[in-house]
Symmetry: D2
């Protein structure tokens, strides 16, 4: 039944592709094909269910914020991380500077650009990009993840708003060290090339409490995983996070490259790829696929028929 | 073990009372005794576990937003309600006007004052206060809930910011009809007098998917309950909602009267009363009691040891 | 030469009428004829120079803020007035609530709605509308000014944003007494029916230091006049005030009814009427007439050829 | 009488020094001596009237925004300059990013940091710092103006908020070319070392319509001077500009280094130096000296006894 529902969900999601629009504020992203839609589901017992364009590579974009946050929690600890970033949804766009100028020195949460840049700044003294890339490969169960050089250069050339955020954080003495190097590392993380399968892999690790089910190796602590999933639920889909939580009811992180990574406690990791985005920047095909799937399978965290 | 853990949680919560402060922006609330702390847990099989000041009556305040939202969802339907109010956490204080002036005509969510006033406006043509009071009694399993006249008058006399919100909504043609009557009804709902037990009762109905476990009567649909609990999780504790979700991981709604109402899927309803508040307006004793209890019992929605 | 230049300025101003748009947020204002343009100039020696539609009556709207401020300064004094309202340009729209919610309890200046409502609130205990109307007639040298009932009712019916501002000021304990009565008086002042001639009369009194040149009677103190003209210069044309000051360089107050009232130190009062507005809410014909006239006659306060 | 009044004004201004505070957000500025107060007045006929610390050198800071704006107007023209920067007072602090993030791509005016950085960006392709320094010497009638290296390094080391503004402008495609070089040039201009005398010289050129009265050489066009003085009046004293215009009624530009530069049409240039600042960042001694002097001499632009 999981298989049939997954297929029906994917078919449902495809109906919305025409209403979406590929991101174009980073020129390289504008080249993506809006008719793509891929869905991959991975379960702890090793099964994979897939439909559509699951082998297409695309840049992780904001989904890398999950990798950065998980790494920081793992290596620096909960208290250190959250003395630099808050845990509150902001209600503003992902690249907003508003609240940094008016409401708080600390970024509102690690899922908006300001917060993720601060997290990357915390990682920078300890990790080189290559180490973070290696960890991303492990946590996504995908050794073929590489840096998408074209996207990285496109990010680099259009990343002045992120540089502004970096310097504003530095002026508030929240960010330390070199702003441009920090933002550069942030761009590289955004430009890691994944597939829907890699995202399902990452979702599976999170669903499984931080342990790789293939070999029992713990990659993330239970506390790290719990924290990451909560922030995905409250802040993972930009300023559409609240509606996504109501309609889908699963932790999820989207990226403007077209990916959504999600998971169901103990049951499965889910990855979708569909570069046509809604007006909030979330994959319109992926979002609707997930809503259908969650509803049909009773996966919403507060579905009273959930198993 | 539930009993011992509940007691330990309550004792833990009491340690924080001295760090809190009773609300005083509504003069009548300022009379509350900051040393009170009550914890009540109700389970579907009819058990009640209680510690401390569970018989003290206090005004529901923002917790009545849950009642109003549930009633509106039940009688007007999901689509109508959310064509008037959004579902997004705002990142601003509960009584902020900022985003109404700059970001959106619709209030960001039903858990901030602007959203709740709009919800009450949707209910006003159909329901008199007495009917809503009756429904509150049913949904809280407490026939003794009454209007606290003193608090109501205090609200009425200091409610000009809420009247401003009402008129602003009216100017945007989101709110219809009489502003002052709408706000008056809102004040009455905030002034309903409950106990920690009533809140545990309300939590139990939500935990039990909308069905009163005493008699099997469905009071709220599964969709209403799911929606309400999701919005409690993302927006239920003012601008401390994100941190509450990370640390406690349960849907909860707090009120500046000192109450917190929470629930655990299928397992229990929880009510706390402690009028000493933290700087965000959440009961400091209640919050810490819940954090301890959730952690010790592995109740966090994303706790990997959760049953 | 004054006469020829005035005529040329008026002809120049008429060329812009097609680019403007009559205000329609108050329905009654939407009935105005956008092809009207009137210019009236009055000098201390009793001369009047007029072109176009100078006998058309229209509502004063925001120009009444000058009357209210002058009355308050005259009767309550500089220090009392400016303990309730600041003197700073706000950079926001005339009806913005933003800064009241975020930056200051006191309205930024008496020329935005919030500030004018506060000024009217200061006047309310002492003055009935009829008294303020009488004073307006005197200060405008026009005994035929009356309340435009149709506009007043239209204002009343669409004035919820101003009521929101009033209640917000009340909630901050800046405004005292009855909000709705205060706002009602504010609506009546906005609805006083003037002509370009009345505005030239008001401008003449201000140009002449507060003294009626016909009879030598002092209507306003020198300090009141100096203060009013400074605030007209810095804040008199909504969020186009800065550009107006650079381009025209004369104190001026505009109203969305289509009037602009201006003056030249010791030399003349100027009134224009043209209900077609630019995107900031200033009469597009009046504004361009004044710019041409000021430039040709070297009237800019910082024109180095000014006499 | 000019001389006696000037002396009395200076003595009056000194009484306020204790209420002020030296700027310390740029460490080097914190070393200034708060008891200094100097007043210098220069008239077109070559007279100089001076009291107090008129030979002390201090950094121009925001007063250099006048030099930058004047240079840009002179060389690029009114229309080019104001297609990049608006002319509106912002109502926000000098270093605010708020309106850039929410209200407009163009900075609100050339007297706030964002506007001045944009002006400097317009100048950067044409002028080297040394050329701008030479022009500053000419326009201030002071050949001894040099770069204060210590202040420049202090600015450089603490200028991250200005870098953030620069990158934000770049991301909006308002600023072109290299952000860090632009901001660096801006820091150098802020760090030019002047005296109260130099500021009186600059004020004299502006009072005299752009012509050096010593030799009749025109340094700035009439339009440039008119525009600069208007913007000084509406925006020259940070978010205290409105009150300064009401109380003093003269175009003025202040800097956090302690200087105020002002002028009276055709009559005189005025420079003051007093590093103790009020809470808005304006020299408290200078401001009060100017208020006394303007009132006693009837210099306010709308003083009805003004000559």
């Amino acid at each position: 039944m999981l298989q049939e529902t997954a297929k029906a969900a994917w078919e449902y999601g495809r109906k919305f592709l025409m209403q979406g629009k590929v991101a174009d504020y980073i020129p390289e992203l504008g080249k993506a094909n809006p008719v793509y839609l891929g869905l991959c589901i991975k379960t702890p017992d090793g099964k994979t269910i897939e439909y559509g364009d699951v082998e297409e590579r695309f840049s992780m974009q904001s989904i890398s914020k999950v990798v950065a946050l998980a790494t920081a929690l793992q290596h620096l600890g909960f208290d250190t991380v959250f003395s630099h970033v808050m845990m509150e949804p902001s209600g503003d766009a992902f690249n907003s500077i508003l609240k940094l100028d008016t409401a708080s020195n600390r970024p509102f949460n690690p899922m908006i650009n300001a917060g993720a840049i601060e997290i990357v700044n915390l990682l920078a003294p300890t990790f080189k990009f290559e180490q973070l890339l290696d960890f991303t490969r492990a946590i996504c169960m995908d050794d073929d993840i590489t840096l998408n050089e074209a996207v990285y250069h496109s990010e680099y050339n259009t990343g002045d708003r992120n540089r502004a955020i970096g310097y504003l954080l530095k002026s508030k003495e929240v960010l330390e060290g070199d702003v441009l190097q920090t933002v550069d590392l942030y761009f590289k993380l955004c430009s890691m090339n994944v597939t829907a399968r890699s995202l399902a892999g990452l979702g599976l690790i999170l669903a499984n409490g931080g342990v790789d089910p293939r070999n029992g190796v713990r990659l993330l602590s239970a506390q790290t995983v719990r924290t990451v999933k909560t922030l995905m639920l409250t802040c993972g889909c930009y300023d559409g996070s609240g509606e996504f939580a109501v309609r889908v009811g699963l932790p999820a992180k989207s990226g403007v490259g077209g990916g959504i990574m999600s998971c169901v406690e103990g049951q499965m990791g889910i990855g979708t790829y569909g570069p046509a985005l809604d007006e909030k920047g979330n994959s319109i095909g992926g979002k609707n696929t997930l809503e259908y799937f969650s509803r049909a399978m009773h996966l919403h965290i507060f579905d009273s028929e959930r198993e």
